[in-house]
């Protein structure tokens, strides 16, 4: 392509660096510095995409982030970004962009036929039709879903990197136009640590379109000097970085596009970065956005915002039209007209809706009046043309309808200050009836607004307001005054004012059904009127009923136009009809950058036991337990999980097994009041425990339910060791701290979380004692529920004789960093005696057989100690957390779910199945854990049954309809092995 509309010189593009890219499969050339929009416009491309609902042809309307129409898919495979604004995508070599929402092609979009039935599908039409059974709606919906959506759905995982980084500063300046630069300079000169964030690829904002002379320098030089000065004072300048969200207490999320959409990252692999900035003061210099105007066909390719037309010309050297009609309510559009005329375009007419007497007197306007066809009190009625662009305009000039031949319509409906971040921060707005603009009023955080965003008009005001905001921010932080005393001054102060006079009324002849307010979502003025007629009169109702402002441009150009239409219908001033809420993000933000590193395999921490690598060498089956990963079984040869677990559990029952119990919750409780403290958290008797002895215990929640279980050991008179479940360890740690620090601050006790200090191996089975004594000497094995100490493999260890499996068992504890040799010695010894490693699955089988409860199984947060058959363990005197709440009547309801055992009469009991008395009956309980009788075989289970303890001997069905399994079961006491507990003891 030939870049036919590119000017031979001028602009900020680097004509020496040609960049090749593709749009819809066709190769184009642009220059370094081009956006996709500017490069394609230079090539004469007018049609960029299709609208959401009616598939109307759309071109480029804007030159920045507010673009509603020119959306493309950028990049391929995992880097494909749908709905990318062509105006906010700087081209790079190899860029592949495709148009959207058309089939089969952009030029020939068969779905554009929808436009023909548009009279019958106005706003909210879907609420009024498609009735019938839900199945029928599903049929309609299928086609609606296919027609809706914009870009193609992504299909491939994204391999690029995203990073989150925290940053802190005295003053954050958002926006690097003249106001932002002046603010940053003033704050920096006052000694503030400054971060300056700019969404564009270079600093300057409006100065990139409209060069000026500031402090006697060309604006480019002034920007360069400002940059140097800010960096020299330790400031941080972030380009291509958008402040997307303003949260509480001075926190902003900035999104840095390290690469352009679809672009391959550099060596560091980083695509985007999220800066989490906490700022002492924030200055918003976010500028203002130009608004379109209401006339029929205002969405045609070739209808563009006036400022955008000037930006394409001045910044990118692209003249977007040859015969131009301008329609405006302000002086700014005259600058566009003059620039176009100077570039050789023919200005067909300037339609100024202001009366001659109300127009401004800027230099531009005066110059235009002398040489261009300016019409005051004039409006556009309609633009006419096709997907190929505008061909003519119908205007109302001096009361006469006039047809104007043109190929570009430049529109200016005034300017809306960008108040989004101010509003996100909780601020309020004030309304200027003359300019038809909301600007910031009260700030709720340490935040001010400067420049056009604050309603400043003209470069002079803009520079001054920025400078003053910078000084004020520094002052508020208690910094010394600035060394520089005067604000930057510009030569063109008088010229760059626009004096908007808001005029919301379209020409009376306008066909409102073709006058678009929200371009992307195809919301017309007629739609808004219909919504109002039907009673959707709250601004939120109107938005939600018509979808006004809910497109990817978030209503940046449409919201105020729509609001004004509503105000007109209501006969009330704009501010009284209210505003929809401003919420993050300011512009759409990829989910990838929001997630940062924390997705995929790194979604959440994977906590590894200290022996992780040792286990990994055995190639176990792993099991997630909360954040932890623990071995579930150690299959040998071709064993599956169940075969392995059965072999392991059988080894424990008949010989000896070793398992890693390092992840258990563990606490050192030390001090003269240690026993008193433990009696507050443990529901069982602790104080009477002899030194060297331990016992099983329960901890309750304040509502009386069992929270966790564990063992408590008296290591010395004033030193206890408390264990609790792995999954509940963090909760237990917080609970102990709460009781210690909040409820019992007077106690002389320290509670240290030593969960990870100690690692431990449990040795269980008839030969467990032999393992211990072989390793540590005759008499080294403590009797059941006693503890001992001694070196093993040269490492000092602690031995707790406790059993979860039901066999004689020992837990041998060593400091985590020293556990390796201890573990190896134990495993070697156990193997030598015919034993093996066992994992969580075997442990589960063993504990079910023994009727031992587990957190997350029977301890489900809904069970009391009595429900679990442990009521008798509770200290009758009370005085522990949870004791009082047990006095509520429902806690002793005989029909509560109570723990019972189940033996299969026929079939295998499905875990998690429902207990029923007959087919079709309401379940009266459920199976919490199912296993087998390790030695004899046979399906057994634990479960909860309403009033279960009174129902021993009942025959029920354990049914699992989802798995099509069932078993006939007999209700028994919840213990299936060694009722007397003989196996525990020597």
């Amino acid at each position: 392509m030939s870049q036919t509309l590119r000017q031979t010189k001028g602009g900020r593009i680097d004509r020496s660096r040609t960049i090749r890219f593709q749009f819809d499969g066709k190769t184009h050339k642009g220059f370094e510095g081009d956006t996709l929009a500017s490069a394609l416009l230079a090539d004469g491309v007018k049609l960029f995409g299709r609208s959401f609902k009616y598939h109307r042809p759309r071109g480029v309307m804007a030159a920045g982030i507010e673009e509603p129409s020119a959306l493309v898919g950028a990049g391929t495979a995992g880097r494909y970004e749908a709905n990318t604004r062509a105006t906010d995508l700087f081209i790079y070599p190899g860029l592949k962009a495709v148009s959207q929402n058309r089939w089969p092609s952009l030029g020939l979009d068969l779905l554009s036929g929808i436009s023909l039935i548009s009279p019958f599908i106005p706003a909210g039409f879907y609420y009024k039709t498609f009735f019938g059974p839900p199945k029928l709606w599903m049929v309609y919906e299928h086609f609606i879903r296919m027609a809706a959506g914009l870009g193609k759905a992504p299909k491939v995982a994204d391999k690029d990197g995203y990073e989150h980084r925290a940053a802190f500063c005295d003053v954050l300046v958002v926006g690097s136009g003249p106001a932002g630069l002046a603010a940053a300079l003033a704050a920096s000169a006052s000694g503030a640590k400054v971060i300056l964030a700019e969404q564009d690829r270079e600093l300057g904002g409006s100065l990139l379109t409209d060069a000026a002379t500031i402090d006697g320098q060309a604006s480019d030089e002034w920007i360069a000097a400002a940059t140097t000065s800010l960096l020299a004072k330790g400031g941080r300048i972030l380009t291509r970085t958008t402040a997307a969200g303003f949260y509480d207490h001075g926190l902003l999320n900035l999104i840095e596009r390290v690469t352009e959409p679809g672009q391959a990252p550099g060596a560091d692999g980083l695509a985007q970065r999220l800066w989490r900035v906490r700022a002492g003061q924030v200055i918003l210099a976010t500028g203002a956005l130009e608004r379109p105007r209401l006339f029929a066909g205002n969405d045609l390719p070739g209808v563009m915002l006036s400022g955008a037309v000037r930006t394409y010309l001045n910044r990118y050297g692209v003249r977007t039209g040859q015969k131009v009609v301008l329609t405006t309510d302000n002086d700014d559009a005259y600058r566009t007209a003059l620039a176009l005329a100077e570039a050789g375009a023919q200005i067909v007419a300037i339609l100024d809706s202001r009366a001659a007497s109300a127009a401004g007197n800027s230099l531009s306007l005066r110059r235009a009046q002398t040489r261009l066809p300016v019409h005051f009190g004039a409006k556009l009625i309609a633009a006419k043309g096709s997907a190929k662009g505008v061909k003519s305009a119908k205007a109302l000039i001096d009361g006469q309808i006039t047809n104007l031949v043109c190929d570009l319509i430049a529109v200016s409906g005034g300017f809306s200050p960008v108040v989004h971040l101010h509003m996100q921060a909780g601020g309020t707005l004030s309304w200027n009836e003359t300019t038809g603009a909301f600007s910031p009023d009260i700030s709720r955080q340490n935040q001010t607004t400067a420049g056009a965003a604050s309603g400043a008009d003209g470069l002079g005001q803009t520079l001054t307001s920025g400078w003053e905001a910078g000084l004020a921010a520094a002052k508020a932080l208690g910094l010394k005054g600035s060394s520089v005393k005067t604000p930057p001054a510009c030569a063109e102060a008088d010229d760059q004012v626009c004096r908007s006079l808001a005029d919301w009324l379209p020409a009376p002849q306008t066909n409102l059904k073709k006058a678009f307010v929200d371009y992307q979502n195809d919301v017309t003025a007629a739609d808004l009127d219909l919504a109002w007629r039907e009673g959707y009169r709250s601004v939120e109702h109107m938005k939600r009923y018509t979808t006004l402002g809910m497109a990817t441009d978030q209503g940046k150009t449409s919201n105020l136009v729509g609001l004004a239409r509503l105000a007109l219908a209501e006969g009330r001033p704009v501010p009284s009809v209210g505003l929809t809420t401003f919420r993050p993000p300011y512009t759409p933000v990829t989910l990838g950058v929001l997630a940062g590193e924390h997705t995929g395999a790194h979604l959440s921490p994977r906590r590894r036991p200290v022996l992780y690598q040792v286990h990994a060498a055995q190639k176990p089956i792993w099991q997630p337990v909360g954040y932890w990963h623990r071995p579930r079984a150690y299959p040998q040869g071709r064993e599956d999980l169940h075969q392995s677990a059965h072999r392991e559990s059988l080894a424990v029952r008949t010989k000896v097994g070793v398992t890693d119990v390092s992840t258990l919750g563990k606490f050192d409780v030390v001090g003269p009041d240690a026993a008193a403290f433990l009696e507050l958290v443990c529901a069982t008797t602790v104080g009477k425990l002899a030194v060297g002895r331990g016992r099983y215990t329960l901890m309750l929640r304040e509502d009386g339910m069992v929270m966790d279980d564990g063992t408590v050991w008296r290591v010395a008179e004033n030193r206890f060791f408390l264990t609790s479940s792995t999954g509940g360890a963090d909760r237990m740690s917080a609970h102990l701290s709460y009781v210690r620090k909040v409820l019992a601050p007077q106690l002389k006790v320290t509670v240290a979380n030593v969960q990870e200090h100690w690692a431990a191996a449990a040795i269980a089975g008839p030969l467990a004692k032999a393992v211990v004594e072989n390793l540590m000497g005759e008499g080294a094995a403590p009797r059941h529920m006693s503890l001992g100490f001694g070196p093993l493999a040269g490492i000092p260890t602690m031995i707790l004789a406790a059993s979860y499996s039901g066999e004689r068992a020992f837990e041998i504890y060593a400091p985590s960093h020293q556990i390796g040799p201890v573990w190896d010695a134990i495993v070697e010894q156990a193997r030598g005696l015919g034993g093996c490693l066992y994992g969580l699955e075997a442990l589960e089988i063993l504990r079910i057989e023994k009727g031992h409860i587990v957190v997350g199984g029977e301890i489900d947060g809904r069970a009391t100690a009595d429900d679990l058959g442990l009521g008798k363990m509770l200290r009758p005197s009370g005085g522990f957390v949870g004791a009082t709440a047990l006095g509520r009547p429902a806690m002793s309801d005989p029909q509560r779910l109570q723990l019972i055992g189940l033996e299969a009469i026929s079939g295998t009991i499905p875990e998690g199945s429902m207990l029923i008395t007959a087919k079709g009956a309401v379940p009266c309980g459920h199976v919490t854990a199912a296993g087998m009788n390790v030695v004899q075989g046979g399906s057994i289970a634990l479960g909860f049954l309403q009033g279960g303890r009174a129902r021993l001997g009942d025959v029920l069905t354990a049914t699992s309809p989802t798995r099509k399994q069932a078993a006939q079961v007999k209700v028994v006491a919840p213990v299936f092995y060694d009722l007397a507990g003989d196996q525990y003891r020597d």
Partner: protein
């Protein structure tokens, strides 16, 4: 635009870590501890050297002492004696893994995936801070302008160290 030199992460030799807490008669107890350890205990948010011991404030009225492994038992005994019945001590040597990060860009590294201002001028040598980085609880002890110790529970360490290695590699690439 990051000014950095190569970042290195070094996992040092393990030492003995002792956590102790004072619950009563604080002034006298602090005096006894100062005598026992040869220096005043560091103030809130601070750390200090005492001969071959590193003392780190942990929580209100709670400190961490890092001692050479060989002297661990003796130091623990000395602390327990000084605490008497006004406080308690526990060996937590296995509960934390210490890693030393060297290179001037450690400050930048620690802002990645974090919420703490590691770049603050006031966070200099002899300062400690506890925070959360990449979901892991971390205690930081600034050793010098170019060195910082990070303590983290061993179960979180593999993920966190991998995270830091990746982030450091990126920083080193960007610095070139």
């Amino acid at each position: 635009m990051i000014d950095t030199q190569m970042l290195k992460r070094v996992t040092p030799e393990t030492g003995r870590l002792i956590r102790f807490e004072i619950w009563s008669d604080a002034d006298a107890c602090l005096d006894r501890l100062a005598k026992a350890l040869g220096t005043e205990l560091p103030q809130t948010g601070k750390s200090a050297n005492a001969g071959d011991l590193r003392l780190v404030w942990l929580e209100p009225m709670t400190w961490l002492v890092r001692a050479p492994e060989a002297r661990g038992a003796a130091v623990l005994a000395r602390i327990e004696e000084a605490l008497a019945s006004d406080g308690g001590a526990c060996d937590i040597s296995g509960a934390l893994v210490r890693t030393r990060i060297t290179g001037p860009a450690w400050r930048t590294l620690l802002t990645i995936g974090g919420v703490f201002d590691a770049e603050a001028d006031t966070f200099g040598p002899g300062c400690m801070a506890a925070t959360v980085i990449a979901h892991a609880p971390v205690r930081l002890d600034v050793i010098s302008k170019t060195e910082i110790d990070a303590y983290t529970p061993p179960s979180y360490a593999p993920d966190l160290f991998e995270f830091w290695d990746h982030a450091a590699a990126r920083l080193n690439l960007q610095a070139r």
